[in-house]
C-alpha cells in the first residue's frame, strides 16, 4: 500500500507554477510539509465536496495554467456529479488526484464506500467519459501517471490507493480558510498579473 506522504513528495517534485486546490483532513498538513515550495500556490481548504469543482472553475478561469485537484475518496463520493461535468466539459488543463485511503481519516478512520472493494472511482470517471482515469497502487507508477497527467490535454484522474496512516512528526498548518484564501489569491494576482481582491473605490 502506498503512503500518501511519499506520493505527495513525488508529485510535488514535478510541480512549479501549477495551482493546487486540496481537500480537507490530514492531507492538508501532509501537503504543507511534503511540497513546501507550493504553499502559496496551493489553496488549503476544509471543503468536503467542493475541491474538484473549485479546481474546474479555476481551470476554466485560467485556461493557460495547469490546475491540480487533490481530492479524496470521501470528498469525491460526496459530489460524484462533478465527474459527469468534467466528462462533458473536458478541461485541457486539469489534473485530478484522488487520495483514496478508503476511510474518513480526519474523523478517526471510519470506512468510506471504496473500502468494500466494489466501488471503483476510476471506473466511475471512465463511465463519465474521462478516458484517462486509473487506479494506482505503486509509487513509481504513481510518479509516471503524474508526469502524464500534468502534460495531458484532457482531464486526467488518478485514484491513488494509500494507507490511512498520517505521516508522523509533521508540523500542523495553523492558518484558517480565510488567511489561506488571501495567500492563494495574492499568489494568483502576482503570477497572473491580475487584480482579484483589489482596493475599494473612494466615494
Amino acid at each position: 500500500m502506498m503512503k500518501r506522504y511519499e506520493c505527495m513528495q513525488r508529485l510535488g517534485a514535478q510541480l512549479d507554477d501549477e495551482l493546487v486546490i486540496l481537500s480537507l483532513g490530514g492531507a492538508v498538513d501532509e501537503w504543507y510539509n511534503a511540497a513546501p515550495h507550493m504553499r502559496e500556490g496551493s489553496l488549503f481548504q476544509q471543503q468536503l465536496g467542493c475541491v474538484t469543482g473549485e479546481a474546474l472553475g479555476l481551470a476554466i478561469g485560467l485556461p493557460n495554467r495547469r490546475i491540480v485537484s487533490l481530492d479524496t475518496d470521501g470528498g469525491l463520493l460526496f459530489d460524484l456529479g462533478i465527474l459527469a461535468t468534467l466528462g462533458n466539459e473536458k478541461p485541457e488543463n486539469l489534473f485530478v488526484v484522488v487520495w483514496d485511503n478508503e476511510s474518513y481519516q480526519s474523523i478517526g478512520g471510519p470506512k468510506t464506500h471504496t473500502a468494500s472493494g466494489t466501488v471503483n472511482l476510476a471506473e466511475i470517471a471512465r463511465g463519465c467519459g474521462i478516458e484517462q482515469a486509473f487506479v494506482v497502487r505503486d509509487l513509481d507508477e504513481f510518479e509516471d501517471h503524474c508526469r502524464r497527467g500534468l502534460g495531458a490535454k484532457e482531464p486526467y484522474v488518478i485514484v491513488a490507493k494509500t494507507d490511512g496512516i498520517l505521516q508522523p512528526g509533521i508540523s500542523r498548518k495553523h492558518s484558517d480558510g480565510r488567511e489561506d484564501k488571501y495567500i492563494f489569491v495574492r499568489h494568483v494576482e502576482k503570477t497572473e498579473g491580475v487584480s482579484i481582491m483589489g482596493p475599494s473605490e473612494h466615494n
Binding site: C50, G53, G57, I60, D79, T85, K181
Partner: protein
C-alpha cells in the same frame, strides 16, 4: 420569461463583467439558458446540482474572472453545504440569480417548499438578496449584487419574481 427579461439578465451580467455562468436548468427561466449558451461572450457550464455549481463559481472567483450561478430557488437547498463552506468558511463569494418558485400565486403544490425555505436559508447563510419583479430593475440588481459581493467577499442573490417569470 419574456425576451426583454432574458436580455436584461444577460445585459446585467455583462455590465458586471461576468464571463462564466453555471446553471442547472429550471422551468421558470427556461428561455434564459439557451440564450446564455448562444452568447459568444459567456462560457456556460451545466452542472449536476447547484452545490457543484457553487464550487465551480468559487473556483472562477479565485482565477480573477467573474461567474454567476443561475438556478431555481430550490437549488439553494442543494447548495447550502457548499455555500456555507465557501462563504462563511473562506470568504469566497458566489453570486446567484434564481427564479422565485413558491411565491404567492404559486399554482404547483410541489413548488410551495421552494418559496417557504428560500428566505430563511438566505438569511441563515447571511446572504443579502433583492427580489426583483420588474424587468427594468434586473440589470441594476445584478450589478449591485456583484458590487456588494466583491466588497464583502460573501454571497449575494438576485431573485427573479412576479411578472418576470410568470
Amino acid at each position: 420569461m419574456k425576451k426583454e427579461a432574458v436580455d436584461a439578465v444577460i445585459s446585467g451580467l455583462k455590465q458586471a463583467g461576468v464571463e462564466v455562468v453555471c446553471y442547472l436548468p429550471d422551468s421558470l427561466l427556461k428561455e434564459l439558458y439557451p440564450a446564455l449558451d448562444a452568447d459568444p461572450d459567456i462560457r456556460t457550464v451545466q452542472v449536476t446540482n447547484e452545490g457543484e455549481g457553487a464550487a465551480i463559481c468559487g473556483g472562477v472567483f479565485l482565477s480573477g474572472k467573474r461567474a454567476a450561478l443561475i438556478m431555481e430557488n430550490s437549488g439553494l437547498r442543494a447548495s447550502v453545504e457548499h455555500l456555507a463552506r465557501l462563504g462563511l468558511g473562506a470568504g469566497i463569494p458566489v453570486i446567484m440569480i434564481m427564479s422565485h418558485r413558491g411565491d404567492l400565486g404559486e399554482n404547483n403544490w410541489w413548488a410551495i417548499p421552494h418559496g417557504i425555505t428560500m428566505e430563511p436559508i438566505l438569511d441563515a447563510l447571511r446572504t443579502p438578496y433583492r427580489i426583483v419583479k420588474q424587468t427594468d430593475e434586473i440589470s441594476q440588481a445584478i450589478q449591485d449584487s456583484y458590487t456588494w459581493s466583491y466588497n464583502a467577499y460573501h454571497h449575494s442573490a438576485v431573485v427573479l419574481s412576479g411578472g418576470i417569470v410568470r
